[in-house]
Symmetry: C2
Subunit: 298 residues, 2 copies
């Protein structure tokens, strides 16, 4: 059996990302173009890759998990489009290209985001219809879709966006920063891993360990981003650096400085890797992903 | 057995509308308040009422259909919040109260809309988890959720918003106006009726007739709104009248004048009622709803 690397999973996502967008009538073709513009901007595709890799790790079918991986990327992309809007972060650049509203206008960008979120759930719901005669397969899919809806919702990503916004300009406790990171960023990473695990054949113990891995990876991911924003490596980020400080965002570097943040990044990465490495000897893609992230933030 | 009226269904929706919003952490409490602000503004609740009434008409359980009815109202409300944003219709007033962004700001209003859409799918997904051991009940729920996702998405409501926006200031064909009305408004009305029917025990013939009913009702609903906008009955509408003309919206009254629009409203209502009355003698709530709408636009 072929062992997939991060790049392999990423290529699968890239090659099939538009496959699940519903047929949009030519009368609303600008909507389709605007959604496609953001989806085709590249990026690490870390969430769908994590979903596929975890499903694979748990003995599931990558092909069958693909609609859920793509749905997750639709949700991530909608959140980026809305996050970049003038009323939110007001960013002109994303992944080295003008942001969606800079090209299509604010109204279309708002609707493209809305359309992408709806598409995510339409894709997953449609996939469930195909497994009506296979109760076991159906249950896996409902669980995966539930994880994604929860991670994206008002206890997950959207709650995090709100808390992040409200924390601007304020002195934040570590508890508050952890809450922001857990919801804004880790919730969708956790959803990716837990959805992938349940689309595979995980047992409860495996699901518990994978959840620890995902939470720590998610926190590490946000701290890594915040470190890069301070170091100012615009090329690695594809967007303007130093914005967190200008916007007075609540971040680890702002609260503890760069060195302590790097230490914390290392701790989180170790905890993530440990959660899997102690129990499984075939979690290489997942542990390497955590390690690579740490190196990127160093 | 008690026969429910429109008001009965509406009261059930009003009394339970907040029940299904996931527990929002106190750290993101403004998000909850902002979502609640819009949900508690009243309105006709026509979509959830239609879902409940259709489910009831098809012999289903109103109580079991309630999460889907509320989810549909969450989606409708998110679309209103986003539609009112300055970059969209820029409305200050909705149902006689300041619009969401006037109270909570544009960023929070955007996120409240996003959170409401996510909540809709989280509610339905969560409900499916409760019926894991009942394949027949599970299938009904997946079908209902699929109808709602399709109606809300980039072939339905969002497509309609885009087409509506792009048609402003242009000379529109009737085909284009019909497309806008079918997607922007009728898609979610059709979703309400088809979801309700499938949560009940509809047969294919019943589903086909109910779909004809819903499409015609949906078109009638939009034309009725556009007539009221011209007649200028702000009280009936809860928002400023005459806005369509100012915004050069593509409407029936703009294309054909008031009299022809009223005639068309009557035709659509007759077709909707006919689709049910010819086959069923117990569709009173559904046919009365169509009739009341027609009278409102006269």
């Amino acid at each position: 059996m072929k062992e997939y690397t991060f790049e392999d999973y990423r290529n699968i996502v890239e090659n099939h990302l538009m496959d699940f967008i519903p047929d949009v009538d030519h009368k609303s073709i600008t909507l389709y173009e605007s959604m496609k513009y953001s989806l085709s901007a590249g990026g690490k595709r870390i969430r769908p890759v994590l979903l596929l890799a975890t499903c694979d790790f748990c003995g599931g079918s990558i092909e069958e998990a693909l609609p859920y991986a793509c749905a997750l990327e639709y949700i991530h992309n909608y959140s980026l489009i809305h996050d970049d809007l003038p009323c939110m972060d007001n960013d002109d650049l994303r992944r080295g290209r003008p942001t969606n509203h800079k090209v299509y206008g604010e109204a279309m960008a708002t609707l493209a985001g809305d359309g992408l979120q709806a598409a995510a759930f339409e894709v997953m719901n449609h996939d469930m219809l195909l497994y009506f005669d296979d109760p076991a397969a159906l249950k896996k899919r409902i669980r995966a879709s539930y994880e994604i809806s929860k991670g994206a919702g008002c206890r997950g990503m959207v709650a995090g966006q709100v808390a992040d916004m409200e924390a601007e300009d304020k002195n934040c406790s570590q508890e508050m920063i952890d809450y922001i990171h857990l919801t804004k960023t880790a919730a969708l990473i956790v959803a990716a891993v837990r959805a992938g695990a349940q689309l595979g054949n995980c047992d409860p113990e495996m699901l518990a360990q994978l959840t620890i891995y995902a939470e720590n990876l998610g926190l590490a991911f946000q701290i890594c981003d915040d470190i890069l924003d301070v170091i100012g490596e615009e090329e690695k980020m594809g967007k303007k650096a130093g914005m967190d400080s200008i916007n007075k965002k609540a971040t680890y570097p702002a609260l503890y400085g760069l060195e302590k943040s790097k230490e914390h990044l290392e701790e989180l990465t170790d905890t993530a890797i440990e959660a899997l490495a102690r129990y499984y000897d075939n979690a290489e893609v997942l542990t390497k992903l955590a390690k690579d992230l740490e190196v990127r933030g160093k």
